[in-house]
Subunit: 364 residues, 5 copies
């Protein structure tokens, strides 16, 4: 899903809501672009001793590994296959609304607690260097006793580092439960927000430099509008994560270990930090808009000043020339010797006086 | 009830309030446009086994079906008949203020809990494709143990999908109590908000395209104002739904099943989502307003620049022509051979110098 | 007390505060315009069986009717007589600060609970059709076990409908206690707010029509300012009523019956509704201000465009005429036959070319 | 301490903070302008029977009167003498930070509860009629069981009315404890806020009249800025008083009698009222700023209109005159009889046509 | 770390976040500029009787002094050495996330409570007189039972006064526990905020004077933008300190003595005070921006007025001169005696009349 110039892609944030109107609540129905690719389930099962990684296309095969004694991370690549989602839903006894939400690629970030599982949804944002745009994807997590199921539409994701930590047994992840895995996945998604924000900042810095160096170009306004929309999009994607993580942290659920809650507090801090950055950039952008507008006013002033200076000097002189051009008798100084020199000299004196007045008024 | 350009129809939101001033509180009195059409009661009674649908014009007939063992949905088309509302009110022991509120087609969305029933009021919004406007209608629900009574003025509604689900036994609605029916009705109304918002978004996108492609047209300002009013209207209609659903969700009432509360949480999420979309569009609109204003400034700048360029070039030249037009003796270069060529050549040199200066200052 | 154009009558809201500086707290002192008219006490005593209405000028006479078995409504017309207020205050054991507040015609709306009575203060607002202004008056209520005392300065009030309901035994008022009477009085005052708001809305609609039809008139800015001040005044008068009614509703006092609290909830809804309307109109007004300013910019643009078009066409032509007016030898095409036709024809060609350029640039 | 035009005296609000950096916390150090005047202690001791008033320069003498059976009000004129503050601090067992705060003339208004005393700080604001400015002074109160100590730098204060009430036994002050005295002192300071606000309002009214009557003067902008700064200063001084009084009212301290809390509620209402007035004036000022800016735009429009009208009429006419001034053969109508009349008549017709067009376009 | 003109250094606030993406949470990794300087540990151990100060480069040596009976203040100059941080972390059993946060020089101010220690992070801000910029540095404190460990990157700090108080036994610090030391360090950092704010205020005052004295210079806009960014930076640095101190004050931890909490309340007041000052300056800056923009408008008005006056006077006169320059027969007054005097006199009369009209319209 791309977020490009110059259309308001805020739409994407809730695309397709209207397509579901009238459906039975809890009907799993994919709301993204139509897809036919087969859905694959990547299963990573690990405990402190061993780790296995397998790719399945059948749900039953994938779910076999789930059980006590190890943590299973089932990453579902593709949320357009309602049957597979239903099978998973039945296995883990997911609420119909949860099944519906998983397939809805445009949901608001949120955490929902159920008796037997926790459902967490947020946006995975990555900066697309080639397209100068933000790629956004909906990711849902289901945290159960022994498994984390992550749902995403596109196979490209930000979880590679986590996979390496598990397979290479880096850090404390192998010795922890499923809740720590869920935390790790949310944490890395939130970390990626800062890459997007950093890139947005570069764009703002670039815009500011252009504005201050007065490299006036036609597209300034469009650039400001584009960044404004990006920031609105980021705000809508990131701000709700704050509450969602707080809800998770304070969840009255045995699925979450107190030590994991400590780590969630860190994610919460990062989400606040990201939110504050966005607000700061919004204020900066308003300042840049003001600078742009003032620049336009200044330019108009300068143009007007030039016009006025030239008009003010030449209009009276032209009048005098006109006077001497009249077909009238007895114009003074017109027929004496060197009359042209006298008249043009007089004009020169008038011009110099006016120039001095203007210099004093700082118009030049 | 129509919401058209260019009058502030916000008025509609509370039309007629002043007509009731001085009345005994709790006096049921219809506040909409005068109507004489007979009120019909559409009764749908169902349980897991069977479903019957009947249309009555008498209240007594309609209420006969209400009782344990099945859920009755009484849809009252027309709220202008005070007698019928009173009869229903007496049957279900409705508070005088509830009766008054039902007939008031301009109430703020709210949920009110009573010992024996719950009263829920919100706006049903639909997008009128033909009139490019939002149709708004007040809908009230009374949830009792075995029945849901829905009140609306116009027979056109958004409940067709629900009726089909009941008659064709789709989903889980037939196996649930009255509270699930009430949830379903509120849910579909909130779903329709997204259709209205989607259409508004299209209008904003269209406006943005026009603004960025600089297709300046006279009506830009009116279009912005029209959308602004639509958004104010939507905000006033949708934001209070949030609190109302929360009140319902947390209601200390045996009329609501815990599982239904779970579904209400979903409606609550949707209402928040709709509210956020509206706020986002309000910000977009402010940006578009700024772009419009900057566009005006830019245009003025361009016009002024042209004027200045032409004036700056020709004013000095015209002065020189004036000089040579003076009826004065001994003008230099005036009487030599090819004097015209010399003079006009000199003018040409001056013009070229000025053009070069302007090109350097980026005025051209 | 009048709220007229164009002075800031917000002052009125707290007129005279400074006059009391240094007084002993609780000193009853009238802060409105000086009055000498005698204070009259209108006493309406009723129970389910009978109703008596009497007008007294002596406080003792008026208070005789107060007692168990009936509800007494003592309406005090005139709050400038400190002696009478003191007598009433002593009879009902009112706190010195309450006595002071009653005489202060500029208090902020509020509810105060005491052991033996409740003190409620708000603004009675009426729209003065003849003066196109809002009349505002401070009204205080004292709710005791068997009586409601209402204090107002001017005999003109909005309570006529209540008096009729009591004397003609309309509605449920005759069968209720003093708390229902107090509710009824507050309810009717809040209802009247909507008449004021409706009239303000008409003014805004009128202004909008004038702005969109571009009937530019000098007073637009003053009209906007006047409405803005009216809205500020309304906001200051109405918003605190919300909290005051909430305080009453949740009051831990035996003076208020649970069923009356239900009715107060309705008043609370109305007060919120009125507040939301005011906020909506404030936003509308900001939009109208923007439209007014943009209209000014547009007008300037049009004027500048005309100037530029005319200048751009005639400045080069005048230059050419000046060239041919030079007293210089051998001007080309000047002395041939039909030279005027050739020259003016050349000018015409230049003018047409420039017109075409301008048409392309959409300046015409 | 003066608040004058046009410097930002907001500085004064916290002048000298930086001078204390690095000091031991709780070091009493005077932060105002340097003073050498001797500190005097004005002691007023009273009970229901008798009252004595004495002025001391020694702290021991002043503190002798403090004891059960009477209330002592020790008013310390001058807070620059660290020794005297220390002596008082030791007598009443004041916390080091309290001693420091008393000498800090730039503290934020606040209430602090200690086991044995209450510390209350706020700004005493008076309107300086001669200097058209607000005089601000920091006042601290220490409320103990049997005494109130008030600290201020300058002998000029607003407490005269309280002194009279005590010495002349007006009101209930003589029969009350120290807490009522503290309330009375806070109450009168808050009352004086309204005098300052009233004077500010007069300034705003005056500005508004000048703006609407279009008496354009150079200093409008400075006046608006000056009032804005005054309002910012008032807001910073008055808004925190609200919380401070609330903290006092709800203080879990035996030093405050329940009946005094009732009176504090009244002070709280006044502080809210003052705060609302300031917010209202801030909004008014924004409107006035908008009017000022629109006035500038309007003026520019009018000037441009005049220029355009004159240019539009004369530029074509001058071109025609130029045409007839060409030294070219066979100019039509140039050599016939009355040719001047014909030509100038033709010019007149063109001028009249253009005037009619302009009148239609409402440019005149 | 410097905060200079004109780039958005807000970036610095969270520099390098993106560098850590994908790391194991709790990995201590320095995020500032690369450093190779050796890390030194400055240890100050004191109790009421004695004080020793030593500088170590080995962590073990530094930690030897920590123990009951005295307070150790270990100031770590340099946070880029992960090994040393790890050694300290292990000695005091610090949570992995705490170790990570200490090395992250761009963290949001916060207080975190752990069972055995408290972690407090804030920005140390100093005003760099030579560079006209704000130097910002991240400082972390670990408060344990018998020691305070402070972490900073650069050896230059604001703690000199504290060191002197300890070594010279000034104030009560020597007789208090570690919590009082931690308070003292936080207090002095917050005190230094006022020096930064004072310097910023001077800059704003200077800007205001320049604006009001109309010393128009090109860089006004840049100066406003620079101050705006400084204020945004200060706000982001200072506002969160408020919550962090509140969290500390209310911390349910035995590490904090009640008497120290009293002192923390004072720091809290100062943080609020600093925050309010920043908000006030932000409002002032908006006013200055408005003044700047209005100044531009005014200037344009004046330039336009001059142009209009000169054009309005000379355009008709030039036209008359053109009339008399026509090669047309029988121009009136053209061939009489003194015809030039008559014609130019007539022009003079017209000019005077126009000047009078303009004077009346106050254009001159």
């Amino acid at each position: 899903m791309k977020f490009t110039i110059p259309h308001i892609n805020l739409h994407l944030y809730r695309r397709g809501r209207s397509a579901k109107v009238g459906m039975v609540p809890g009907t799993p129905m994919y709301l993204g672009e139509e897809k036919n690719e087969p859905v694959t389930l990547d299963v990573l099962t690990y405990n402190e001793q061993e780790v296995t990684r397998q790719s399945h296309s059948s749900v039953e095969d994938a779910l076999k590994s789930v059980g006590p004694g190890s943590v299973s991370w089932i990453n579902v690549d593709g949320i357009h296959d309602a049957d597979k989602i239903s099978q998973i839903g039945e296995f883990f006894h997911l609420h119909p609304l949860t099944r519906e939400d998983i397939m809805n690629s445009n949901h608001r970030p949120k955490a929902e607690l159920f008796d037997n599982y926790i459902h967490f949804t947020l946006k995975m944002l990555t900066y697309n260097e080639s397209g100068f745009c933000i790629d956004s994807e909906q990711v849902s997590f289901i945290l159960t006793q022994h498994a984390v199921i992550s749902f995403q539409e596109n196979p490209r994701d930000v979880f590679q580092a986590i996979r390496e930590r598990i397979t290479q047994s880096k850090g404390r992840i192998r010795s922890r439960k499923a809740d720590y895995l869920a935390y790790s996945l949310i944490d890395i998604i939130v970390d990626y927000y800062f890459i997007v924000i950093d890139n947005l900042e570069k764009t703002i810095l670039h815009l500011e430099e252009d504005l201050l160096s007065k490299k006036e170009e036609q597209r300034t306004l469009e650039r400001i509008l584009k960044i404004k929309k990006d920031l609105l999009f980021l705000r809508n994607s990131i701000i709700p994560v704050r509450e969602a993580v707080t809800a998770l942290q304070k969840a009255d659920s045995t699925l979450l270990d107190p030590s994991t809650r400590q780590f969630l507090r860190d994610v919460h801090d990062h989400a606040i930090h990201a939110g504050e950055s966005i607000e700061t950039y919004r204020e900066m952008l308003n300042s840049l808009m003001e600078i742009h507008l003032t620049g336009l006013s200044n330019k108009l002033n300068n143009v007007m000043k030039t016009l006025t200076v030239i008009s003010t000097i030449f209009i009276p002189l032209t009048f005098i020339a006109g006077l001497y051009g009249m077909n009238v008798r007895d114009i003074p100084y017109a027929n004496g010797e060197n009359s042209f020199a006298w008249v043009s000299g007089g004009m020169g004196v008038i011009a110099v006086i006016m120039l001095i007045i203007m210099l004093r008024k700082k118009w030049l």
